[in-house]
Symmetry: C2
Subunit: 385 residues, 2 copies
């Protein structure tokens, strides 16, 4: 199947270099890193290397990295650790545009007796910093804010937020699943307490994630079991995928410049091409402070699902809102929080690129999509040209 | 490295057929199963096939299977679901010989206000059924008992226990991580409410597990996030590993006869060979009701760690107690619960075979190990020949 894959915020192709790094750890070096024998110990050393690579990529120490099963587990672990370590505090704070991994957990905790604040965003998806500052109290256990939005790519000013939160003695966690690998990142410079990342967004496989926990931050395990990860996360380590993740972090470091130049260039070309060719189209989200690979475009008076289906016939893979909330006909909670009008939110498409996309693919979309929109609008009862 | 690997209860080689099944889902069919496009949908269908295969292997319906990140996550999910669904009940029950995934979680819950009962076992590792029955109360939220012990292979009579527990309106969970694939299993015939399994114990990769939840059993998610697994476990599915797990379940079904005949024959040969050649050696655990692949042998008056090191030089990979608790010099909690004398518990070695072991490997161990024991005993201050 020949596809034009511009859905990299949903998931990414595993890099050939990553597959190569993983392969020996399935059938050949399959030992348990906890075993006493050399065969297991060899695997343990490779695990440590992967930990060092992952840590180095975000400016952390190896022992500050806990490998998990996915970004969602990283988020749950961070938020649970923060509230378990501050049992007297009953207020938790996030934004209205978080990924379901944080949003749904906050809604769950709200039913369990936590007072929850969801900070609003403006029309451009920018966080209301004043509301944030006003909402921080002595009772606040944790603030969890995403670094980059998965649907729009809009960046929150984490470097400004982190010290503001931590100065008040509040734990600060950031879900950086979409930001990692697309923009430079240094957890020390940013000053965050905890940071979630996910393998399958950076060309490692699905089923592996990591959580950075700054040395000194109080911690309590979410997955309780064996002594793995220094007693911070039970369960036999996902060896091959963790080794893949280490390799993916090395590659991502090498590719950061490519992200900010080539990928950004392709994204901008796609965006301009579509906006120029399609009337009543607009970009959702702050175009200045945004991931280089993402554009979220509303084509008014058409259904996003219909656009996706028509593109799908041509092999173009994109997304309307987050894949994690698909199956629902409601407009995305992110675009609603931004106040995007109903007619525009319904017709929004997220294009998310990777280093594997080509100029030809972008040209193909710019050629094929505008006639699709025109055709769908002809059938729409709301469209008045 | 040429190894004789008899540590299959710690982890197993990923089967070549499993690697073959997984490979296309890294670099080629890498879509997100939640995506609306055909490319993602194709992956979603393969995921469903894997679910059907996994379910069929244990006699479940596909929708009764929830894929997780590991056996530990399955155990945590089951126990949390049971107590979250029965918030008024404050008593939980397990045995003294569980895997750390259950044991440590119970100890944690005991600190959180739960009354916990750890049912003892006898000298053969058999559960005290009378104590179990007497301990069940109206306040009991969940009973969690392993199907097969990871250190001794001793089987608990799950088919007898499950109805006894469920008849009293108590949720029954079994950690079947070590039993699955080694003995025939039918969750309906056994009558369990929830059952944990792990991929890497049945020749699938590390980092994937499953939880069977019987239709009708009250459930509440542990990992809260996206709508994956019908809203029962958030997080992008570990696609390649889940597909590998489905294939591993098919293979395991084909190999059940081989487990009960060839693997059992090799294990019995190894056991007899070592007991005959080494004085003051004995098998720990009920030899009748035991996994066909496991033998736990105590060589009195020697340190298990020293035996392991000497075997390691010859490339023989075995274990003293569970790999999940290694690094500790304490004798195994399982052997202590069985009342194995200190001098014997310290010198216990677990040999756990798989279908990949050969007669030659068994002969090699029978030839090489007895002289090692003799040499170590010569150096022991406690040994009087």
């Amino acid at each position: 199947m020949d596809v034009v894959y511009v859905d990299n915020n949903a998931t990414t192709r595993v890099a050939p270099e990553v597959i190569e790094a993983m392969l020996p750890y399935f059938g050949q070096w399959f030992g348990n890193p906890s075993s006493m024998h050399t065969f297991g110990g060899t695997v343990g050393r490779k695990l440590q290397e992967a930990r060092e690579k992952t840590a180095a990529f975000i400016g952390a120490q190896p022992e500050e990295i806990i490998f998990t099963g996915c970004g969602t587990e990283s988020d749950s672990t961070a938020i649970h650790a923060a509230i378990a370590s501050n049992p007297e505090k009953k207020h938790i704070l996030t934004s209205r545009v978080e990924h379901p991994a944080v949003k749904n957990l906050f809604e769950h905790l709200s039913k369990k007796g936590y007072r929850t604040t969801f900070i609003p965003v403006d029309r451009q998806g920018r966080l209301d910093m004043e509301a944030l500052e006003k909402s921080l109290t002595e009772d606040t256990a944790v603030v969890s804010l995403m670094w980059a939005n998965n649907e729009t790519g809009v960046l929150f000013p984490i470097e400004t937020i982190a010290p503001m939160v931590r100065d008040r003695g509040i734990v600060f966690h950031t879900d950086a699943v979409q930001a990692v690998g697309k923009i430079p990142m240094d957890v020390k410079a940013a000053g965050v307490d905890m940071l979630s990342l996910s393998g399958h967004k950076i060309h490692a496989p699905k089923g592996v994630g990591a959580l950075y926990v700054r040395k000194g931050v109080k911690y309590s395990p979410f997955l309780i079991g064996g002594h793995q990860e220094r007693g911070r996360r039970g369960g036999t380590e996902n060896v091959a995928s963790i080794i893949g993740m280490g390799r993916a972090c090395e590659l991502a470091a090498d590719h950061l410049k490519m992200q900010s130049e080539r990928v950004r260039g392709l994204r901008d070309k796609l965006e301009k091409g579509l906006l120029d060719a399609v009337p009543k189209s607009m970009v959702n989200g702050d175009r200045e402070n945004r991931l280089p690979n993402t554009t979220n475009i509303s084509f008014e008076y058409v259904e996003g699902e219909s656009i996706l289906l028509m593109m799908d016939r041509l092999g173009i893979c994109a997304s309307s809102g987050s894949a994690c909330t698909s199956g629902s006909l409601e407009p995305s909670h992110v675009l609603r929080a931004m106040g995007v009008p109903f007619t525009a939110a319904h017709g929004s498409i997220r294009f998310s690129l990777s280093i594997y996309n080509t100029e030809q693919e972008i040209d193909f979309i710019i050629e094929k999509l505008p006639p699709i929109i025109a055709k769908l609008r002809e059938m729409s009862p709301f469209w008045k040209p």
